[in-house]
């Protein structure tokens, strides 16, 4: 069964009439992880935001996006909002800017949990603290009272993962969650994302241009270029027999990169 089914998605900028995504169809199977790879500007983030219905007002779309068989574009704004966070959860690239800089981290978490659950503050806090402990964040109580600038990118990323753990969504959309991190934090965040999937069995849409990370976490992959899907399929077959020249290019450069990565890891240990 498919948790998400995107059919003939076309996205364009109504201000400039520029087409951002031409005709995109793909699905995410229940419990599996689909990775989207592709160079920057190829439309990966726009695809994610289209599913969440969080594009800017001047970005228009056509086609259907089914989530658990239900057409998201037919929902009222309020119904859609109820699904954001609770059913469809996003993890952003840059933890540093993902939280309101003038509020402590706990504020965002409390507001989110209040929106979706009828827990009192104590209960919410207990749940998020145990989730934070499980993603290896030390002193969670203290972290909740700190501002984003006092924490590292990797920690903020893991806070988003901890929040997802509490929300137990059906689908997690992680838009380049490791791109802004150093190698060590990257490793930690990927570990936690893998464990998150193991624990909750949720489906995942995982965006990255690091094929090494993609290989570790994803079951299927879809390669995008200039707003079009150029290749997709099972991860092993795509990476062992890339058909499109762009995928071939990605795979060869990735081999060089991952050798470099492995060397770094060996030096680190």
């Amino acid at each position: 069964m498919n948790i998400v089914e995107v059919k003939h998605l076309k996205v364009w900028d109504a201000n400039t009439d520029k087409v951002i995504i031409h005709n995109s169809s793909f699905q995410v199977k229940q419990g599996s992880c689909l990775a989207i790879v592709g160079e920057s500007g190829s439309g990966k983030s726009v695809t994610c935001r289209s599913i969440m219905r969080l594009n800017k007002p001047w970005i228009r779309l056509s086609g259907t996006i089914l989530f658990k068989g239900e057409d998201l574009n037919q929902l009222s704004e309020q119904e859609m909002r109820r699904r954001r966070g609770k059913n469809l959860c996003m993890i952003l690239q840059n933890g540093m800017s993902a939280f309101d800089p003038s509020c402590v981290i706990g504020v965002h978490i409390r507001e989110t949990l209040q929106t979706h659950f009828n827990w009192n503050n104590r209960e919410s806090e207990r749940k998020i603290i145990s989730a934070m402990e499980s993603v290896m964040l030390k002193n969670p109580q203290e972290i909740l009272n700190q501002y984003p600038h006092q924490l590292s990118g990797g920690m903020l990323q893991r806070i988003m993962i901890a929040l997802a753990l509490v929300l137990e969504p059906d689908l997690i959309i992680a838009d380049e969650p490791t791109t802004a991190l150093d190698t060590i934090s990257q490793y930690e965040v990927v570990e936690q994302l893998i464990r998150l999937r193991e624990r909750m069995g949720c489906s995942m849409l995982f965006i990255s241009h690091d094929l090494g990370v993609v290989q570790k976490i994803a079951d299927e992959v879809m390669v995008m270029k200039d707003g079009a899907i150029v290749e997709s399929g099972d991860i092993r077959s795509v990476f062992s027999k890339p058909e499109h020249t762009y995928t071939q290019y990605l795979v060869t450069t990735r081999l060089e990169l991952s050798n470099h990565f492995r060397k770094l890891m060996q030096e680190g240990t």
């Binding site: 969080l54 954001r84 966070g85 309101d100």
Partner: protein
């Protein structure tokens, strides 16, 4: 750093600045090529200015002392609100400047309330409706209104509302009605600038990741907007704090048009009369007001934004 020590540090930093400002004020006024004693005697309309008279005046007013001593004496006196006596009337400067300052301050504060309130209101509305008809028309109108010279607007309003319809007083400061016209003119000339600041600050915050993440977490539009407002107004607070001394220092035209008994009018008269002690006091008061509001704005900003407290 906690707020208490931040405030103390910020005030300690302002003190040397005040010294520099006072020195510059003193030097600039005393750089004047005119012999101050001659100016005093001319201002008092003494018919025959003799060398003897000049020497006497110099001694009486301390102009014969070395420059540094003069400055120190002046500074110490200033700190006790003793700015000397007017060359013209011989009255203590503070008895002229004090009430005038108060009048200007009243006008400034009332106008600032309107400027700030309207700027926030219009800025927020326009940002939320970016590119729509409301946004476009408000921006267009503000562009026109900001471009109108304030004396011209004042003249039109006086002619229509005061002379033709006889609704409002043309000048003076007798009742709350006297405030209406000058406040309208000042508000019109400044709101255009400040509402743009609020609008662009809102727009840039609306593009931040935390807004996307808030919405993606299912937060209501009301909650997301509160976060945007909080961060946008932070930028605006410092600009608004500076608006008060800016308006305070630029009421010259308005006060002269509406015969408002304030600092602007007093300063113009003093400049024409070469009444140096009053000019000195005027410049000093304005400078101190700027430093004061600058400090206040930094403190408010630090209270709202913990990142700013880190380094000072």
């Amino acid at each position: 750093m906690d707020m208490g020590s931040y405030i103390v540090k910020r005030i300690l930093l302002a003190i040397p600045l005040l010294f520099v400002i006072s020195l510059i004020t003193f030097v600039l006024i005393n750089l004047s090529l005119l012999d101050p004693a001659v100016v005093v005697l001319q201002a008092q309309e003494v018919p025959q200015i003799t060398d003897e008279l000049i020497a006497q005046t110099n001694e009486a007013l301390g102009f014969d002392k070395p420059f540094v001593i003069q400055y120190v004496n002046w500074l110490i006196a200033c700190m006790q609100f003793d700015f000397g006596s007017s060359y013209v009337s011989g009255e203590p400067v503070w008895s002229l400047v004090g009430p005038a300052f108060l009048n200007t301050l009243k006008l400034t504060l009332v106008s600032s309330v309107f400027i700030i309130g309207l700027s926030i209101l219009l800025g927020v509305i326009c940002a939320m409706r970016e590119g729509r008809a409301v946004d476009k028309s408000v921006r267009g109108l503000s562009f026109v209104l900001t471009a109108i010279p304030s004396y011209w607007l004042a003249a039109i309003l006086i002619w229509y509302l005061s002379v033709k319809l006889d609704l409002l007083p043309t000048s003076g400061m007798d009742s709350f009605k006297s405030y209406i016209l000058p406040v309208i003119v000042i508000t019109v000339s400044y709101t255009g600038i400040y509402f743009r600041t609020v609008r662009s600050s809102m727009l840039s915050n609306m593009n931040e990741d935390y807004v996307l993440y808030g919405r993606a977490s299912g937060l209501s539009e009301r909650k997301v907007t509160l976060h945007i407002l909080r961060n946008s107004l932070q930028v605006a607070v410092s600009i608004f704090c500076m608006a008060i001394p800016i308006v305070l220092g630029s009421t010259v035209v308005i006060e002269n048009v509406f015969a408002w008994p304030g600092l602007g009018r007093l300063s113009v008269r003093s400049i024409l009369n070469r009444d140096f002690p009053i000019i000195q006091a005027y410049v000093l008061i304005l400078a101190v007001t700027f430093v004061l509001f600058n400090t206040i704005s930094d403190v408010i900003n630090a209270a709202m934004n913990p990142r700013l407290r880190k380094d000072l």
